[in-house]
Homo-oligomer: 307 residues x 2
């Protein structure tokens, strides 16, 4: 049994701040209701925990845009496939709470699975098309799991804004689409991807990389950036993407699920730069599946292919 | 072109009351926001128009339970199958508005299809299981259409209560399930079925019945009531339902889609009275498909089979 004093000590930040944790919808609504009654606006940052600098940048954005910030921590089982890493997914709530306390976030909402999916729960929210391609094709049901849990969180917390990272670009589009289509009264804010010094996008699953894999991993960002540069310069999108796939395999990636140039809003394939476009990729490095994406900077000069 | 004066005259009720009609989400939110600011609670009654006494009873319930009542009128194309009666569905907005004005409803929200489903709209809300059986089996996609449009309406209007009729019993369960699962902050109120003097449940589609069909139609309610009585008295549910189907065919119904005894909450088949149960039926009389349902009154004395 964990004593209250131990818990408090663990979650205290470097500047001695702490953060309250609630685990039920009723509690989070009571807190948010009190904030609203006091005239505060409310920001929500949905996470699956294992917080890194990328998450913290979302929290900082919420803190800047809303009077109060609630961070949710829920490792959502419905967005994991049967062969995926639900059980192995990194979890360290005490460390997460300490990081959030240090930033000055106001509340951690960490419901259990039974609170989020009580017995009899069946309703699903799906975003056909946008949610079926790319990640949705390689991870069937993934975006239905994401859209459903985010719809729940938005109804439970009822924030004015909710912050999602561009790192999960397709997820961001799916959530924006869902919020617009269902007229959910919230503004979705997008936060730019946070990267390591060598360009690797921060991700909780980077913890799965061996030292050798970690050394090879930055090739993903380097490659999609090169593809984006070529396409911005007028190169054929399909040919350039195929060239990029070859680079990834040469760099040590075992398999490329996709490396593709898509319309930045609809994710429909594009041939050449024109409307805003995005290069998106998912590729395997050992047991780890990495995803990343970058914008095609329209009007950029033709890039040089790296050797 | 219809002049404003003509419109006003048409929608004025017998006691000279009129009702404002809005057609956009922005307008309905502004009205509801003003009510809330004045401290009023808000009721929503979603309809597809062609209002009859059944609908009006839902409106009266809302008027009794909430300070302000908004009635929506939207013939939702996504809950009609390709072979169904979307184009023929009865429409008379002026008459509907007049009826609502006479009752003292506060606002009619009658969005066009483009307002409810703008270009690019794709998101779907589905309720697997509860939404797949009975009506869902005979009308594939029906309850996804219903759940999606009701989710939208609840987000657009954001009422404290929303009223649905027990006439569409499965729909009522699907909506309740969706609201609970997605944690939508609204209370769903159920209103009992309103019947003609001979027992026929009021329904907009009764307008499709010929005089001879109208004369035969009350057999539906009579039959499911007899089945409910038998089952309450201890009869086998499956055998009694089969007997009821025979009665309907004898009474002139062309086809029975289903006549079945189900758990009143989960709609799972039941063998005998025990947990609260419901008899539900759908059957064809000429071109018209009628549905109806009644509760199995647990503890009732064994009924007598009608001759």
């Amino acid at each position: 049994m964990i004593s209250g004093a131990w818990y408090k000590a663990t979650v205290a930040g470097p500047d001695d701040r702490s953060i309250d944790t609630v685990r039920t919808v009723a509690e989070v609504r009571a807190r948010v209701g009190a904030w609203r009654a006091a005239g505060d606006t409310v920001g929500l940052v949905p996470t699956m925990g294992a917080l890194h600098e990328g998450h913290l940048s979302l929290v900082r954005l919420s803190l800047a845009r809303a009077g109060r910030t609630c961070v949710s921590l829920f490792v959502n089982p419905t967005q994991f496939g049967p062969d995926e890493d639900l059980r192995a997914y990194p979890r360290d709530e005490a460390a997460d709470a300490a990081r959030l306390a240090a930033l000055g976030a106001d509340l951690l909402f960490a419901p259990g699975t039974g609170e989020m999916y009580p017995p009899g729960d069946v309703t699903e929210v799906s975003v056909p098309g946008l949610g079926d391609c790319l990640e949705g094709e390689h991870r069937p049901g993934f975006f239905t799991g994401v859209a459903t849990v985010v719809a729940k969180l938005l109804m439970q917390v009822r924030p004015d804004i909710a912050v999602f990272g561009e790192k999960d670009y397709q997820q961001l589009l799916v959530i924006k689409r869902m919020v617009k289509d269902l007229d959910i009264p919230v503004r979705i804010e997008a936060a730019p991807t946070v990267r390591e010094a060598d360009g690797l996008a921060m991700a909780s699953r980077n913890a799965y990389l061996s030292a050798a894999e970690r050394a090879a991993a930055p090739a993903l960002f380097r490659t999609i950036s090169a593809v984006a540069g070529q396409v911005a310069g007028g190169a054929d999108a399909g040919e350039t993407a195929a060239w990029g796939e070859g680079l990834l395999l040469k760099a040590g990636f075992a398999r490329v699920d996709y490396l593709t140039v898509r319309d930045a809003e609809t994710l429909e394939p594009v041939d050449r730069a024109g409307r805003p476009a995005r290069v998106l990729a998912a590729a395997w490095l050992g047991e780890a599946r990495l995803i990343d994406n970058v914008a095609v900077q329209a009007g950029a000069r033709k890039g040089h292919r790296p050797a």
